[in-house]
Symmetry: C2
Subunit: 497 residues, 2 copies
């Protein structure tokens, strides 16, 4: 075996373990009875430990050095594969076992405490544990920064979105923070002058919602031979590219929320399903990072499936499946419901205009927590101040304030920015897709997503991790990630539309 | 860490991998879309290889020798644990990696070919592959025999049922083979003089069958906080003791078959659920072997739930759930349907009187295949001859003859005898349980299985692998495994009843 082949076999084993972990996580959230949780945690911890042991294999860097010499300079896939192997090795190897263990313990303890403290809005109960989590994250960031040759915060960003750096995030978020508040005022003023959208009256039986969801995921191109749709407490996409598991949650009072979750997760699923089959068990064949992944879900949810064309296709089907009648079922009204903008407290309920402001707040605060300029005890106050300044309202309590998201309490710092970068990339990609194939909107109006998905396959999904996020965006949209397409999109939809 | 503690931590890791494998197998049979099969096979192969590497750890025998000195002589659980660790190590370590690989390849190829050849009744298509499978099994048996110090066939038996030896099986099967054919004639003559049972007319909607199944597994004591019931092509019990996954298959024309499968699998599940919690992740805490496992399913299916008492409890409930009316729903008729005996071709459809004859045939033939006295090409003829001699009828084709069971085609030799040994153990255990607690039958008549399950917990489930199968039976029933209780049971039920 050549060095390259040896590496491939090592990473094929990792892919087997990763796939098993992914199915076990899916099962935990969808199928597992409560009493199985403790044993499942042991299974997951066992596989995660084995995975880590395989990944920190000390022979990998030397094999990679040899493999680079073996592989033809024009063999872009194999070269990218070695690069991604080394990236994974560096991230795993940077953190010594004691720190991995310390992080795992701190994050689990804090996340568990958060689950019960959140509903009581009891920040004081969780603050000491969050302080530990932040302290560990600072240590991890510092040690990874050394290994990767970047700043500590960038080392965290890099683990969610390879090569993403905060200098770029700063520039983009500064632009949005100066543009959005004024824009928001104008949108709210305009929507205030128009009739409010009225949610069609329910109830919407789960069976009927499920039937509509099935029809839509088929239309979007979700391949049921390679995936399934179930329900879980929080919608997510799991499984492996050959067997993608998406979930939603049904609310009998509001079919739109569940439907949009299905469409969002289908966007993620189509990315996974479209990854190149020949590279499925290798690092180069994986999805590129959280920014591009979120761009694929938001492109479907916010662009393709809130368009007038799509509503024209959806409305009669929803009407039929729920036996809906009357003016609330008109596409014009549904569009108003869909595109309602408001100053809200909760990120996951936010519309696409205010969403980036929620993210910018979190980005600013997590950077301050990690550079030590913000203490955990001061987080609730800083949150309220930031919400007031950016979104224009402040939460009455911490439950709907700094305790609303699981991320920090589970140790995830550097993740939040990718939501908004994903929204920007989605706007760029959808605009480029329509420019390349002007039939896309009218096809969507007939429930035919094939032209859109085919463009995404060629320009995003099929590239996998052969190129960087920026290279993929430049090749597909002719520019690096930026705010222009997003601003044009929300201006057209919320002011000119 | 002491040597004993080191061993415990090694086997805890194995338990984590085993649990993951079990959930992945369950998912393959119940949830996985077809297109996920290839990737799933890779995941399973990866975990199986990692499992094997962990188990053949060369430090285990020396650690075990030290551990035996460390552990108190009266500490029966820990001593049993070391014994079972060594047993697992010996089985795994006996077979060199090349042979493991050869076996895996031969078995997979043959099983796959069997799946398509069976429906065409095309034995010729699968014979060369089965010849390979037998050749590999002979090699494995020989090499294991050396390691375990027993005969080759006994080495195979031992992997399904620790300490079981063919000398004992020979004795028991000779007894049954001489008793059953004459007994069968008498039962058929008696049933011929009585009115035939008539299956209540369907259809039986799946939803209603599912509702009845849910009610019954609750009555039997299946703990839903630690398990779930789904459907699959073949009923099975999977998962782990903290999260037991049972399945059934629904036939809208016949609710009894599905119901009996549910009860059978619940018997298996109760065994798993009743294993001692403190020993769940250690070899001593596992179920004892296939004989005792099958005894638990058959005790529920054949003894507890074909009793007159149970039918008195079941009939009105089944009536209500299916809206059944008329004489076919009377317990007397249902009992005749339940207890119908006939000379059939198919093992899995056989009643409890003829079932052992099907097993004896397979036992004789697999021993002959493995000692070389029967060639694979001569199997179909030997099968027809054996069926004629033992059961009294011969199959018109190989589909319903020597191709009906997956076992040999997947490389399982030494498994079949445990079905009938399980039936014998079930008869002994149920008789002993009723003797110890005479309220058991009347409680079952009220749908109260607690007295029965409580006796099984104390005498079988809770013992796990601390004792051998024979020790467990002697302690619980005052005698080693034998045919007397079974003969008494079928005589009382089919001739005197």
């Amino acid at each position: 075996m050549t060095a390259y082949q040896t590496l491939e076999s090592k990473f094929k084993r990792l892919a087997g373990i990763d796939g098993a972990l992914s199915v076990l996580h899916w099962d935990s959230a969808t199928m597992m009875p409560d009493g199985g949780a403790e044993t499942r945690a042991e299974q997951l911890a066992t596989l995660a430990a084995i995975r880590h042991e395989c990944l920190v294999d000390p022979s990998i860097p030397e094999l990679a050095a040899k493999a680079v010499d073996e592989v033809d300079i024009a063999d872009h896939w194999r070269r990218a594969n070695v690069r991604e192997m080394l990236r994974q090795w560096r991230h795993a190897n940077a953190v010594p076992p004691e720190l991995v263990e310390r992080r795992s313990r701190a994050n689990s303890a804090c996340e568990m405490a958060w689950r019960s403290a959140r509903s009581r809005s009891d920040f004081a109960a969780v603050a000491p544990l969050l302080t530990d989590v932040v302290a560990v994250a600072i240590d991890v960031a510092a040690i990874k920064a050394q290994a990767l040759g970047c700043t500590p915060y960038d080392a965290l960003l890099d683990s969610y979105d390879p090569d993403l750096r905060s200098a770029e995030v700063d520039r983009i978020f500064a632009d949005l923070a100066s543009f959005l508040p004024g824009f928001l005022d104008r949108v709210l003023a305009k929507q205030g002058r128009e009739p409010a959208g009225v949610l069609p009256p329910g109830p919407f039986p789960v069976e009927a919602q499920r039937a509509l969801a099935d029809r839509l995921i088929d239309a979007l191109g979700f391949d049921r031979r390679h995936g399934r749709l179930d329900s879980s407490h929080h919608p997510f996409t799991g499984g492996v590219p050959a067997d993608v598991r998406i979930t939603t949650r049904y609310d009998v009072a509001n079919f739109i929320r569940s439907l949009m979750a299905v469409i969002h997760e289908t966007g993620h699923a189509l990315y996974e399903m479209g990854l190149p089959v020949a590279w499925r068990d290798q690092p180069a064949g994986g999805s590129r990072g959280m920014t591009l992944h979120e761009s694929q879900s938001l492109l479907m949810e916010m662009h393709a499936c809130r368009s007038s064309e799509f509503l024209g296709y959806l409305a009669p089907q929803a009407c039929a499946v729920f036996g809906g009648k009357g003016p609330t079922w008109e596409p014009t009204n549904l569009r108003r419901v869909y595109l309602k903008v408001e100053r809200g407290l909760i990120r996951v309920d936010a519309d696409e205009v205010t969403y980036p402001l929620h993210v910018i707040l979190r980005y600013d605060l997590e950077r301050a927590l990690l550079d030590g300029s913000l203490k955990v005890v001061d987080l609730p106050g800083a949150w309220r101040e930031g919400m007031k300044r950016l979104v224009g309202i402040a939460p009455p309590d911490d439950k709907d304030g700094c305790m609303q998201d699981i991320h920090w309490y589970g140790g995830d710092f550097g993740y939040f920015p990718t939501y908004t970068l994903g929204a920007l990339a989605a706007a760029q990609l959808f605009a480029a897709a329509k420019e390349a194939d002007p039939t896309i909107p009218s096809a969507i109006g007939r429930g035919d997503f094939a032209p859109l998905v085919s463009w995404l396959r060629a320009n995003v999904h099929g590239v996998a991790s052969r190129l960087s996020t920026q290279e993929i965006l430049v090749a597909a949209t002719k520019e690096p990630i930026g705010t222009e397409a997003f601003k044009r999109h929300i201006t057209a939809r919320y002011l000119d539309g």
